[in-house]
Structure formats: structure tokens, C-alpha cells
Amino acid sequence: MVSVAIFQQEAGLPKLTKRTLFNNLLQANGGDVSKPDISSGTGFDLHATLDVLKALLPHQAPLKDFVHHNPLNAFQGKPFENAVSEAAQLFGYQVYLPLDEYRRRYHEGAIRADVLERILQQRHPGEEDYWQQKMLESTPVTKEPAVVGRCRARWRQLLDFSLDEAVHPGLFRWLGGYLDQGIAVWSFPRCDLGLFEAFHALESRATGGMLRSREARELLISGRTGIEHLLGLLAGDPAIYGYYLLDQQFAHPGWSGMVAHLESHPDSLLSPRTVSLADLIRVELLLEIDALACHKPHGWQLLATVTGDLAAQGNPLEQKARPDENLHACHLFQLALEWSYYQQVLAAVQASSQMLAASGHATAAPGRSFQALFCIDDRCESIRRHVEQLDGQCETFGTPGFFAIDAVFQPHDSRFSSKICPPPVNPGHLLGETLSRDKSRQSDFHHSRHSTNLFGGLMITHTLGLWSAVKLFLSIFRPHLSAQGSSSAAHMDKSSSLSIDARTGCAEDPDGVQIGYRHEEMVSRAAALLNSIGFTGNFAGLVYLVGHGASSVNNPYYAAYDCGACSGRPGSVNARVMADILNRHEVREELALQGINIPSGTRFVGALHDTTRDDLQFYDLDRLSAGDINRHRRHAAIFAEALKRNAAERARRFELTVQTQYAAHLHDAVRERSGSVFEPRPELNHATNAICIIGRRSLSRRLFLDRRAFLNSYDCHSDQDGLLLAGLLKAAAPVCGGINLEYYFSRVDPHNLGAGSKLPQNVMGLIGVANGVDGDLRTGLPLQMTEVHDPVRMLVIVEQSADVVLRTIKSDNTLLEWFANHWLHLVAIDPDSQQLSCFDGEGFVSLPPMSGDVMDGAFLHQWLETRADNLPVCYLNQAGL
């Protein structure tokens, strides 16, 4: 390394001939192969750089485990505005809506002028006019180019050669082949080895491989493949190694992010691979040296020749964000957009709370016809509303949809088990499925590997090829869920039995996962669930536990459609298992000791709501008594009607459906949608999510929230010390925040942070999607999932006194980060005084009473039929919709 620098000075020319370069390097290391090459005194810390890269790269899991997360989670330690400005300047991301769009919304009234005025007064007292002019009139100056990619662009101009274009296609194909999970028929020959070892094993055996130049092959065989050593041949100056790696890896953030993710989560692949980002970098550096050696046979200029000014500036990642008035103007607009909506919600919630206090809560709880526990998911808001509208006597609760079941589930016909609890939870229990009879599986020859082979393909095209025409015709005229799709009902068979009881003898398997639950474990899970939502008395005869899942076909993002609290799986197993546990006599006895008295007449029933099809299936009905069955029939009819209304409400957003269907057929149209191969939007998922209410249902029961709210039941009176609240927030903040911010960033920058349009996507190795064949893996959500989303950060409303909430969030630093850095907004509503106070990062500040302009829902019925946009918060007409 040292001699390279000397050579440069001596020659006075920044160009190196290849031979000299190699000789120098060999001498510098004394030709000793075993000696690790360490660039001494260079100030380049490889491990630190790798750690930074891993943090910055997208953290997206393989498709089957798609879990929502904050795409900028590397910046979460900083306040939102600084963090996004930094990300924008570093990577060139778009972090707000375009200024023009804010202005349009301002002129249309979606951003309220009074809200904007108030925000300007608070933030820039005395400078309101300056900022108002900046926001509404001035033309924005053009952005500076992003830091990432700058060095490489200069180098590219100098070399007159695009290294990326020469290296990427081969690298992606090779890496895709190595990581492939089952698309390729001819699998990678040595996937038992680590990434770099596999590269070495294949290349050193075979000529005609990836490395075409003698120099690169020599390097590989000599073993001088340390990252610093290779960087010396390309970048030259250790001060810019960091720049080099940053540019190199962020030229394909998708693949690098996947490798970085798999390095830390090797278990997310069904066919395991040993990968590391360092290995990927080594391979890529070798390929780059190879490409340069082939293209520039007489030597090449090092990157250092064009980065003299940058090396002095120091680490680009440590630089603070430059103040940017454009971004700040957008930020102010964003705040105004958010508060224009929050204000409606807060006014409505406050009014509800006041009414509740006036009517004297909990003094005489009415007798309940039945109760139902739903997931906190925003998609469950509407179905709960419809059920309650149809039966005023029923009661619904919201709780994370895994129902306190922290387990992995193994389907009867699968070799693998999958996690069915929130991603951060480490499951310690295994639930196995057994079937009384073996069901025949549907298969589809279109995905058969034979069609790829020469003679298999010959046979298939000559015979079944013509059958494809029939299949194509049917899939267009009679869409149905076929073997190709992912159906929520197929997750667990209705008639199967589950290994809920801990088995004696084989209590623990080698991985430390225990089969089923022991008695005391069942009690603790049941108590945790019921206590967290304040459901400890007043039990009705039938209590439903409704998990949710989704059904879609031709959809690589299927895992993102299922329950997030079940790690992207349907919640059917969880609901069924928890119902079973709560129905156990011995569990109820223990619960009674803890003060939860469940009457012996009460039965719990597990169920699964398919959010795409609006179907509901109940489990283990054969265990109900005849009287319970009769009562259940009445409730089932209510559920059926609610589902129909729910489908109609959802259909207002589906333009093509509304145009062509009569209202009565909307449910069928919605069902058909889930099985249509030509439908890129089987449902709209979490699009438009905006708030999360943690409190009693009575705060929101009278409100129309337009499927924009996560609702978590919580009884403030039974939790004076905030212990339950801490548990709820720790689960809700990362889950809801992850969903909300992933939608936010995918919406505001669909091309870099989102996955672009879904339509040209190509599945790579079953782990990711890319555009076309040569593309990088795309991370984030596709346009089709986010286009109707209104990008607002989530407002978390907690029904509890501000002191308790403050104590609770300060008890946990990660939790505090979400709110203190304004990635989520937090408002507490005092259950006694109904005072609203907002968390400003340090403490709670009282909010003035919200202007009470919540609309009456008189027009709601009409709006639901005619409008496709976001509807305002309004009061429900008690007579029902």
C-alpha cells in the first residue's frame, strides 16, 4: 500500500501501469501469502465502515418474511427533521411530498390555513411572513447532487468506462444463483460454502468463469484478497476507502441490503447460506479489478486521483446535515398537513371522552350479547364498527393479533415451521398441526421444473401447452383462488388438531423450542392478554377471538398482506389456540385466583377474518353446546352482514369495481378480486393509516375513522402505574410505526425508497423482486400499495394522564426515541379532565381545546357510495348505516 503512494509521487502521474502496480504490491507484502495485509496507520477502520454500511443498507427480509419497518431506521436516533434532511442530502432521497403538491393541497383546503398559521407562529415567531412567502410562492432552487455516488461519477468520467455497468449484471446473476431458494433447476454447485469461499472454489477450479483477466485470477489464487488490499488497487488512498465502499454498495442497495440482512438473520432462508457483507465486497472488488484489467489493459487511474478535495473533508457519514430552506419549508407543510387531520381526530376523541365522563362510565355496564377481540390493525376498524352498528349490545376489543401466543407453527405437510408472533419476540413454543385425513395437495404444472428442461418442455408444450390456453381463459373469465395463490384459510386446516398441550417426554427439542404450552404458561398468556385490554369481567356467553389474514394470487408481497403481529402470517392458529386455552377449566380456575372470573357458561371461539375476501371462518364449533350453537347462529348472521357492509365500504376505493357492479354484488366482486391473477391490488392493506388510539373503545365507538386507525384496547383505570401501558407501547410503537413509516417513505419516494411499479417486476430467487433481468432488488412497497396513501406520520393517542404516560415512555430508551425524535406523534388524553396534551420531546404540553367542527355523519351513507378519497372524521348516526 505504501509503495503505491510512493510510486504515484515519483511518477508524478496518477496513472499506474498494471504490472508495476502488482509488483509493488507483492513486494510491499514481502511476497508472504500468509501475512495478512493490514494498511498500517491509514486511519481506515474496516469494521467500523462495515458496521455503518450494514446499518444504512435497507433491512428488508426475504419475501416470505416481509415485515414492515422504518426504511430510515439507521437515522432513528436523530430527530425526524434532521434525520430525513441528512438522508436526503446523503442519498438523494425524496423525503417529503413535492412542494407543488403541498401547495395544491393548501389551496384545496386539505392543509388548513389556520393550522399552518399556528405552526408558523410556534416555530418561527416574527418570521411568519418570510416563511409563508417561501412556502407558498418562491420557486425552489435546484437540489445539490447526493453525496453517495459522487466519487464514482467523477471516476467514471475520468476512466470513460462505467464499472457498474460492466460488473453489476454478472455479479447479480452470480449472487442470485448462489442465494437462490428454488427457482433455478440447476442449483449452485457449492452453496454449502460461505459466499467468498464458494466464489473461490468455483473460480480457482474453472477457467472461463467470472474472472477473465490474468491479474484478477492471480490475485484470487495468491490469496491476497483482503478488502484493504483490493481497495489499494482501486481507490489508492486509504482516506477515501470509506467513500469507495459507500458508493460501491449503494449502487445496488437491494442486493447489498439482502446480504447484510441474511448475515444477521441466517434463519430467514429455508435453504441456508453463510453470507457476509464483507464477502460480497471482496467478490465485487475482485470483479471490478477484473473488469478494469480487461478494459484497460495498459493500467488505470485510481479513484484517489479525482477525490483530492474529498479526502480532506473527512467521513461523509459524520457530517451534519446542511440547513436547507426548501426541506424546512416542506417540513412545515408536512406538519400542517398532519395537524389538519389530527385536529379532527382529537376534537372527536375529546368530545367522546367528555360524553363518556358525563354519562358516568362503568357504573352500570350493560349486559353484553357477545364480545369479540380483533387485531389492532387499521383494517379491523371498519369491521368492528359494522358489527357494533348491527348489534348495539355487543362489545369489541383491539389487541395485537397474535393473542399473546408466542410460538412457531408447523403445518401438517411442511418440513418447516414459521414464526407466528411479532418479529421482536423470540418464540419458545412450537405448535404442530395434525390432520385426521391426508389432504391431496393441488399442484400446477406451470410452475413445474420440467417445463424448463429440453425434453420435459417438449412434452409439456406439445400436450399441456394447449391446456394453458384454457387455463388462461378461465383465469380471466372465472377468477378463483387456485394452487398458485396464497389463501389465508389454507394456513391452517380447519379440521386439524393442534399440539397445544406440552407433551411429556419430548418437552424440548434441540433448538430450545418446546412443543405446546405447559399449564402455568397457558395461564400467564391468558392473563396477559385479558389484563392488557382491561377485559377482566362482564363476560358474555360467547367471546370471539378474531385473527386476520389475506388471500391473494400472483402477488410476491403476500406476506405483507397478512397480520403484522404474526410476522406476516394469518392469525388463525393464534386465535384458535388462545380460545382453546381460555376454554380450559383449569386455566379459568387459576385466572379466578388472579381476579379474572370467567363464568362457566362463557365459551371462547377462535375465528379468522380474511381481509381481502371479507370472509370469516370459525374454529371448533363442534365443541359448543347446542344452546351456544343457537346463539352463535345469530351472531354469525350479524358477522355475515357486517362483512358484506365492510366489503361495500372497501369497494369505494376500487374504481373499476364500483363502475361495474351493483351494490348487492360488491361482496362477490371483492371476493373475485382476491383470486384474480390480473389484479395488482387485491386489497389496499394499510394504505391511509394515520392514527393509533390506545384506550377504551368508548373513545372511538361513535366515530367514523375511515379505516385509518389502529385501535388498541386499554383500561387506564386498572393501570395506574403504567406497567400495562409500557407493554402495549413497546409492542405498538415499532409495529405501527414501522408500518406507518414504510408507507410514508414508499409514498414520498416511490423510486428509491419504494419498489416502483409492481407491473414489470421479476421474482429473483424467491427472495426478492427486481425490474427486468439485470436489475437490483427493489426494497420498500410498490406503487400499487401506496398510491392512495396520505403520507402523514402516525398520531398515537393514549387515554391516560400525561404524568403516567411520560413516566412510561421514559422508562425505555428505544420507546422514547420513537416519540422524542418525532417519528411518531404522541398525545395523551386525561381520562378525568379530558385535557389533551402533546409530547414535545421533553414533556407534555397542554393543547388548546380543538375547534369542534367534527361533522355529523348524515352524508356518510352517500359518501361511501360516491367518494373514493379520504373521508373526514365524523360522528356515526346511532341508527346505523
Partner: protein, 628 residues
């Protein structure tokens, strides 16, 4: 029946024009027009089929419009209908209709909804022109439409880098095939001493007698036809374009590269069977080519981890087998195989996103790791070598780059060096001198007779190459190709006596399109100069000007297409006329002229791509990562 046949060709074209007139803001009108056109077309096709079957399946042939008539060339369209056409028509109709119905929901709310449907309908028009064509000229018109619509649909996502780059790549490879077709048309004229229709060619004894008299010409024709078929059907060494064409929305990939466009080579071979069947080596060559392709493509397909690439190579391998079947004279089997392959690959592509849910579930059922693939029984180093070769697609992409692109670049740099400032003035003087020589070609000495046209053609090619190498102002590059056309005209005029109206026909389209294109390219440049900046639009970057100037982009595309002899301008007939003046033994002149046409086509599409496509510099959100 004859009228029905003409109607079948005209109907989609008329529908295309109507679809262009629909509003862009609404989806329903354009969808209805396109669906209605295809449905109506289907109805007429069925009526025709029934009638044809009733008449005991005759070979129907009609002559259409006489577009140009001169003593040595009668440029007319002609249509025919036989079993091959029937099979291709039915498959094409079914797949197109299904894809259109499929795309109604699939493309819903996508930017470019109208563009997609119009392009698909235009593609369908081209497809019908090819399969109903009664002579090579008509087929060539359809063939060109297929090429341009392919380009437009691959570059559908025109603000991203890779689609535009791959669209250009595929177009340049297509262009090679087009030249094969152009040269074979030229040679056919000499082989049969005039225009010849497929109907005449169906008389095998007539064809054989002509071939016996002109054996080398016959071989040349057959090889050029084979070149065109090989390119279009992705056979070796051109296979690597097919997966790279999968950049558009999935249904467009399915209809183009799963079903219809990719099988056009098969159609060409079947249609021109009599032209190569009698020659001893050609069937063997076709079979060997097919065999080699099917083996190599199968290996590549087997190791692909990207689903669409896997389907593409598997399809190419089957087309290789179809080539073998055709070479063995199993026409019916080949047709059946074509239909099966087209349906299967279309459906596989359309449901390709399902593969994740399906295969992951299937893996749960059985352990795929214990299934050893046959390659693992090979000796280790051979196994690794073959695997790496297959992963690298046997270097096919690189070979094509070095074979096609690299020589052009080198030659372009060389000619750009020759044609600089003063060179242009010199060229103008020489051109005038050439015109002076024109009135009496007989005056020139016999030796000059050969050299003059050749050197003029060489200058034309040099100009085109220099335009190709130009990386500065776009208008300069554009000007060079227009001038290049003038040199081609001079070359032909020096070669034989040419009627003035023929030259006028050729140059009129070029001149009008050239002027229009020049102004369109000059406008942003002038804006840049008046704003005191350096010329803004250079050819070393992408500018994405379609975003802000959609009409300029459309007009330039029109002008560009006119100038490369696309069948909307008289230039196409003009080009054909020019070729008809090249004598059968003047292979060098024909090659120079056709090379000129290839390069001009490339340059025009490259200018279009660089100036109007790609990421917009001023786009909010900054440039999207190139690799995305």
C-alpha cells in the same frame, strides 16, 4: 373472401388510428376501442376461416395496392392465406385478446395506460401484416412495425435507465435481422428477375429452376432469411436479447416475448420454406443451429434464478427444437409446437409472480435439496465450468457487444476523425462534383463506373458512423445521418440511370423528416445558447425530455421513423427502389448501403432515447439509481 383478407389487415391499423385519438386522461375509451378492434378482428377471422375451410382450404392470394410502379419495380402489397397463416392468426388472436382483457385491470392507474394499449394494437397490426403478407415487401412493413413496437414497449418505463438501455440493445440486434431481410428481398429480385409473391414461390418446380440458374444468389437469399429468422427467434448467437427484453409490464412481455414476436422467425422459415428447402446445406444448417441453441439455452435456463429469464431461455430452447422440426420437414408438428409453446410461456409469464407463494409452499412438502440435478454427476471442474458458463450466458451478451457494438464504435471514432470541420466543406464540394458527373454516367470511364458509386456509398457509411460516434450536440449527429441519405442517393444515381422521381420519392421523406427533426433538436440547444449556457443536449447522457415536452417527443419519433424508412413515409419505398438499382453481383455496394441503413436506424433511435427518454434531470426526487 378476398375482401375479408384485406379487411383483416386494414382493421387493426384503422383501430390503431382511432385509439390514438382517444383522450389520455381516461382509461375506458381507449380500452374499449382496442378491445372492440380485436374482437371485431376475431369475428372476421372466424368468418374467413369458416369460408376457407368450406372451400377445402385453398391457398388464397390477392394483390393489394400498387404503391409504386416503374419498369423494373412494382412495389405492391399482397396478401395470402393458407394453413400456416391460419394457425398463426388463431394463436395471435387468442393471445392478444386475452392479454388485452388481462391488462384492463392490470394496467389500471399506470402512467402510460393509453400508450400501452395503443402500442399493443399497433404491434397486433404489424403481426397481422406479417402473417397475411403475400410478398416480402408487405412482410417487411409488418416486420418493421414489430421492431419499433418492441422498442417502445421495452422502454415503457422510459424514465428508468435499464429499460431504455435494453430497448436500444434489443433494437440494434433486431436491426441486424432487418438487414438480413432487406438483403434477401434485394437478392430475390435478381433471383427471379423481378417481383415475386409467395404464391409464385409455392410452385416448387419454378423455384428450383430459378435456383439452378442462380445458385450463389439462391444461397445468399436463404442465408439472409435464416439470419433474420435467427435474430427474431433468439437463436444462437442472438439469444441474450430475449431475457433483456423483459423490462416492460408483465403482459407486454408475455405477448411479445412469450408468444408472438419471438415466434416470428419460425413463421419466416415456414413461409419461405421453398426458398431454402431445395438447397442442400441450408436445412442442415437450420437443424444444427436449432440443436445448438436448444442445448445451450436449456443449460442457461436451468441455472437462472430470475423467473422471467428462466422462462425466456426455456422458450428459446423450445424454438430451437421447432427449428429442427422445420428443417426435417415436419411443418405441422412445428405449428403445433409453436401453439403449445406460445400458450404455455404466455401463461407462465402472466402468473410468474405466483412462483414465490407456490414454490415456498411446495418446498415445505418435499426436500428439494435431496433431488440431485444431473449436472452434479459430472466431474467437478467440468461441472463448475459449465455452471459458470451458463450463469454468464456463455458470454453471449459480451460476444454480441464485441461483434456488433464495438466495431461500430471504433469505426465511428475513426470516421469522426476524418469528418471534422474542414471535412464537411470538402464533402459538400465533392457532392457537387458528383452531381456534375451525373447527367451522363456513360462519360465516365469503365473503371470509374465501379468505383464512383462504391466510394459515394462509403462516404454515406462514414457519415452514418460519425453520427454514431458523435457524443456532443444531438443536432449535429442528426444532420450527419440526413446528409448520409443524400450520399446514398448519389451513389445509386452514379451506379445506373435512375428516374428523377425515384430519387425524389426517396429523398422527399428524408428531407421533410430531416428538417422537422433538426428543428426539434435545435430548439433546446438554442434555448441553452440564449440562456448563456453551453449546448444543453449532448448525446453522452439521458435527458428524459418526454416528461416536459410530450409533443416534441412524439413529433421527433415520427420524424425519426420517417428518416429510417419506417412504413409511414415514402422513404421505405425509396429504400427499396434504391436497392433495386443495385445489380445482383454488386454485393459490396449492397452491403455498404444496407450497413448504412442499419447504422442510421441505430443512430436515430439512440438520439431519441438519449434526448427524450431516461430520467429527467430536473425530476423531483433526483435521479433514480441506475441499477434499479
Amino acid at each position: 373472401m378476398n375482401h375479408l383478407l384485406e379487411l383483416l389487415v386494414v382493421l387493426p391499423l384503422a383501430g390503431f388510428v382511432v385509439s390514438l385519438l382517444q383522450p389520455e386522461a381516461r382509461e375506458e375509451p381507449v380500452y374499449r376501442v382496442v378491445r372492440g378492434t380485436v374482437l371485431l378482428h376475431g369475428l372476421v377471422t372466424l368468418v374467413l376461416l369458416v369460408e376457407w375451410w368450406w372451400l377445402d382450404r385453398p391457398l388464397v392470394h390477392i394483390t393489394g395496392l400498387h404503391l409504386f410502379y416503374s419498369p423494373h419495380l412494382d412495389f405492391s402489397t399482397g396478401y395470402m392465406f393458407d394453413g400456416i397463416t391460419a394457425c398463426f392468426a388463431l394463436v395471435g388472436l387468442f393471445v392478444t385478446l386475452m392479454v388485452i382483457l388481462y391488462s384492463r385491470c392490470y394496467m389500471h392507474r399506470e402512467t402510460g395506460y393509453k400508450r400501452f394499449f395503443c402500442t399493443v394494437l399497433f404491434f397486433y397490426s404489424g403481426y397481422n401484416l406479417v402473417i397475411y403478407a403475400g410478398n416480402m415487401e408487405t412482410m417487411f412493413i409488418g416486420w418493421e412495425i414489430l421492431g419499433v413496437t418492441s422498442f417502445l414497449l421495452i422502454a415503457f418505463y422510459r424514465d428508468r435507465y435499464l429499460p431504455v438501455k435494453n430497448a436500444l440493445k434489443v433494437f440494434s440486434i433486431y436491426r441486424t435481422g432487418d438487414v438480413g431481410l432487406l438483403l434477401s428481398i434485394w437478392m430475390l429480385h435478381h433471383l427471379f428477375g423481378g417481383d415475386v409473391s409467395f404464391y409464385q414461390l409455392s410452385d416448387m418446380s419454378y423455384v428450383l429452376s430459378r435456383q439452378a440458374q442462380h445458385y450463389p444468389e439462391a444461397c445468399f437469399t436463404a442465408i439472409m432469411l435464416l439470419l433474420a429468422a435467427t435474430v427474431k427467434s433468439g437463436q444462437l448467437p442472438f439469444s441474450s436479447w430475449l431475457p433483456r427484453a423483459m423490462e416492460g409490464p408483465t403482459p407486454s412481455s408475455a405477448i411479445f416475448y412469450g408468444a408472438l414476436a419471438v415466434h416470428m422467425g419460425v413463421f419466416l422459415l415456414l413461409r419461405s420454406e421453398n426458398l431454402w428447402r431445395g438447397l442442400p446445406l441450408i436445412p442442415v444448417l437450420i437443424a444444427v443451429l436449432g440443436l445448438a441453441t436448444s442445448l445451450v439455452a436449456t443449460m442457461i435456463a436451468r441455472c437462472q434464478s430470475a423467473i422471467k429469464a428462466q422462462i425466456a431461455y426455456a422458450s428459446v430452447a423450445q424454438i430451437g427444437l421447432i427449428f429442427i422440426e422445420i428443417a426435417c420437414g415436419l411443418g405441422e408438428l412445428a405449428l403445433l409446437h409453436f401453439a403449445g409453446n406460445a400458450f404455455l410461456r404466455t401463461y407462465q409469464l402472466l402468473v410468474s409472480p405466483s412462483v414465490v407463494a407456490y414454490l415456498i409452499r411446495e418446498q415445505g412438502h418435499r426436500d428439494t435439496r435431496i433431488v440431485r440435478n444431473i449436472e452434479s454427476y459430472l466431474p467437478e471442474s467440468l461441472h463448475y465450468r459449465l455452471y459458470l458458463l451458463s450463469i454468464r450466458e456463455f458470454g453471449l451478451d459480451l460476444i454480441l457487444y464485441q461483434l456488433l457494438w464495438q466495431p461500430l464504435k471504433t469505426a465511428g471514432k475513426f470516421s469522426a476523425g476524418l469528418i471534422s470541420g474542414r471535412g464537411v466543406i470538402l464533402l459538400a464540394l465533392v457532392y457537387l462534383a458528383g452531381l456534375f458527373l451525373l447527367p451522363d454516367p456513360g462519360m465516365t470511364a469503365a473503371g470509374w463506373q465501379q468505383i464512383l458509386p462504391l466510394s459515394a456509398a462509403a462516404v454515406a457509411l462514414l457519415l452514418a458512423l460519425a453520427a454514431f460516434a458523435e457524443r456532443g450536440a444531438a443536432w449535429r449527429s442528426w444532420l450527419m445521418i440526413i446528409v448520409s441519405h443524400y450520399w446514398v442517393a448519389l451513389s445509386i444515381a452514379l451506379n445506373t440511370a435512375v428516374e428523377p422521381r425515384e430519387v425524389v420519392l426517396y429523398l422527399s421523406g428524408v428531407s421533410i423528416a430531416g428538417t422537422a427533426g433538426f428543428f426539434l433538436l435545435w430548439m433546446p440547444h438554442a434555448a441553452g445558447v440564449s440562456a448563456g449556457r453551453v449546448p444543453r443536449v449532448c448525446l453522452d447522457d439521458f435527458y428524459g425530455m418526454t416528461r416536459n415536452h410530450p409533443w416534441r417527443s412524439r413529433l421527433f419519433l415520427l420524424a425519426g421513423l420517417c428518416s429510417i424508412g419506417f412504413p409511414i413515409s415514402p422513404t421505405l419505398i425509396g429504400e427499396d427502389l434504391m436497392f433495386s438499382h443495385i445489380r445482383g453481383e454488386q454485393i459490396l455496394l449492397a452491403t455498404l448501403t444496407s450497413l448504412d441503413f442499419i447504422v442510421v436506424g441505430l443512430v436515430v433511435m439512440r438520439i431519441y432515447a438519449r434526448v427524450y427518454l431516461g430520467a429527467d434531470k430536473g425530476m423531483a426526487g433526483g435521479a433514480v439509481n441506475r441499477s434499479a
